[in-house]
Amino acid sequence: MRIPLLSMFIKSPFGGLLKHAEKVNECALAFQQAMECYFSKECMAFKELREKVTSLETEADDIKRSIRGNLPKGTMMCIEKFELFRYIKEQDTVPDRVEDALDWIFFKPEPGIPEELKKDLMLLIHSSINSVEEMCTMVLEAKKYFETFNEIQRNLVKEIIRSTRIKEHEADIVEARLKQRIFEIDLDPVSVFHLMRLVEIIGSIPDHVENAGDMIRAMIAK
């Protein structure tokens, strides 16, 4: 404290934000593995993969908390503090949803996914994971923008945000088709309920990514 300049500089929240995004991405990839495992009848690792997702979700939570806890009153940032908090909350919903999906499967693992739905469901999972990856890049590029304030960089971030929007729309189409198919094929009501809910949970992931993108858009607005 003898040197006031030292105590003026607080650890940047952007480093933590990026770390959180990477953790979320890791969590999403583990989720994909878990789902692939669940799809194939031979794979026995579902339980371990689910535990992996759960622990990654907890780690992401810890990062979120450390960002929130390390911004003392009177901190001035290049974005609003509560803007940042709302953003982390949105970004942190993604691993929550991923965990929810695996929990939901865990509650009723049998009889599994009907063969005729597997392709579309995998497609939905893929597009969800894709948009999470996109979110990770978005945070990285936004961080760079706040360092340079460069117009080209800003357009790059805007481009990524646009792409999250497009991905959300594509995922919506797949989700709608899946729901239609669930009603078309002959299933017992419990299975219909189970599948419907699962599709909805997975389908909400790109929605949250899109929201996160919109928040970043507001942050980089001039």
Partner: protein, 407 residues
């Protein structure tokens, strides 16, 4: 007669100690942005700060020293040289004690404020309240409020300007190279001006104010374009961007900061010493003779000693802790702080280099240039700011009474 010489020797020791403290603690504040932005290494910082603090102290340091010497306490009324001597020594001792305490307890205390407070205490004890030049003191205190704000505004404007005309452009590298003569030139202009405008050096060359202004402008333009040539020769990698250019320019601005610091802070160490010196040598404080160069040199060397002995360790911490500062930001902070301090020095106002640097960082922070800055530091600084002056004044009074009893 011998007591007087003992007091003079004690004054030299304490003055050196104060200078040492400025070098050991305050220099880190001044060099922090350059070291933090990795524009210069710690070793370079120590070297630059050491050399240029001496230069600044010797060539530009006399104005502020004169303010401390005869600006705060009305010297004509100090009839008894014995009392005045004891008073000046108490002032130096009390400031040194308070600064040591602050270093020990890690408090953000300014050496400038300590010495001004001590001088007030000295004035009150030596000649009563009427001896203190309250109007001049008001100007000094006002400058403490104005200088960080001034620095904040310059840093804010400078950084916004850099964003507008360089960073946001399609090719920031080309633009920063193209505009580098402006950034180098403006820095050189103020530095040269401070050397020749109303200084003994300027008088030696028989330069009028207009000539000084003109000369500084010419030199600044030459330096600006020469700097651009050098930059374009050394930095070939366009990918490095604007930051690489400003990294080189920042080497220059860190020299600028060190110079300004020497010019302003040397008075904190040798202001009261100058009082003792004049009393012993001429029997009166208010002599119209300027502060002898060797005293300024003595103070400058004391600062350089402090930097060499303890500065490196402090700056190492700075480099590790300040990681979010880039070169364009560092340049804005350096430029704002140094300009503020140098302008204040020319006006004979003892301002705190630390506060100017803090103001600069806040300015860039307000311009949204730094990812996270703690603004609450201002409140803490203000608190110690308000506390320092009366504490060192009262300590001076107590020491005065004790010394009066002994001597």
């Amino acid at each position: 007669m011998s007591t007087q010489y003992y007091i003079l020797i004690a004054g030299y020791i304490l003055g050196f100690y104060m200078a040492w403290n400025i070098g050991a603690n305050d220099v880190a504040n001044a060099m922090a942005s350059a070291v933090g932005a990795k524009a210069i290494t710690i070793r370079q910082a120590v070297f630059i700060a050491g050399m240029l603090n001496v230069v600044g102290a010797v060539f530009i340091g006399s104005h502020v020293t004169n303010t401390i010497r005869k600006g705060i306490v009305s010297t004509e009324i100090l009839v008894d040289p014995h009392i005045a001597l004891i008073g000046a020594l108490s002032a130096l001792l009390s400031a040194a004690l308070w600064v040591s305490f602050a270093t020990w307890k890690s408090l953000p205390v300014s050496t400038t404020h300590s010495i001004v407070g001590a001088m007030i205490g000295f004035g009150i004890m030596a000649g009563g309240f009427s001896v203190v030049k309250w109007s001049k003191l008001a100007a000094v205190v006002l400058s403490w409020i104005i200088s960080p704000v001034f620095s904040l505004i310059i840093a804010f404007v400078m950084f916004k300007l850099i964003v507008k005309i360089i960073l946001s452009k399609k090719d920031p590298f080309v633009w920063s190279l193209k505009l580098s003569p402006f950034f180098i030139g403006i820095t050189v202009f103020i530095v040269i001006l401070s050397f020749v405008f109303k200084t003994p050096l300027g008088k030696t060359f028989a330069m009028g104010n207009l000539t000084a202004l003109f000369l500084s402008l010419i030199i600044a333009i030459i330096f600006g374009f020469a700097g651009m040539k050098l930059l374009s020769r050394f930095i070939r990698n366009r990918k490095a961007g604007a930051e690489a250019i400003f990294k080189r320019i920042q080497i220059g601005t860190s020299c600028y900061v060190a110079l300004a610091q020497g010019a302003n802070d040397v008075a904190n160490a040798i202001g009261p010493l100058a009082v003792i010196y004049f009393l012993v040598k001429t029997g009166n404080v208010g002599a119209e003779v300027p502060v002898p160069v060797f005293l300024l040199l003595f103070g400058g060397i004391g600062i350089a000693f402090g930097i060499a002995m303890a500065g490196a360790r402090v700056m190492e911490t700075v480099g590790k802790k300040i990681t979010t500062l880039t070169n364009t930001r560092g340049f804005s902070v350096d430029f704002a702080a140094a300009t503020t301090v140098l302008v204040a020095s020319k006006m004979g106002l003892p301002v705190s280099t630390t506060h100017a640097a803090v103001g600069g960082v806040l300015g860039v922070g307000l311009a949204r240039g730094i990812e996270a800055v703690n603004f609450r530091i201002i409140i803490k600084i203000m608190l110690y700011w308000v506390v320092t002056v009366p504490i060192s004044a009262i300590t001076t009074m107590i020491i005065f009474k004790i010394l009066q009893f002994i001597l």
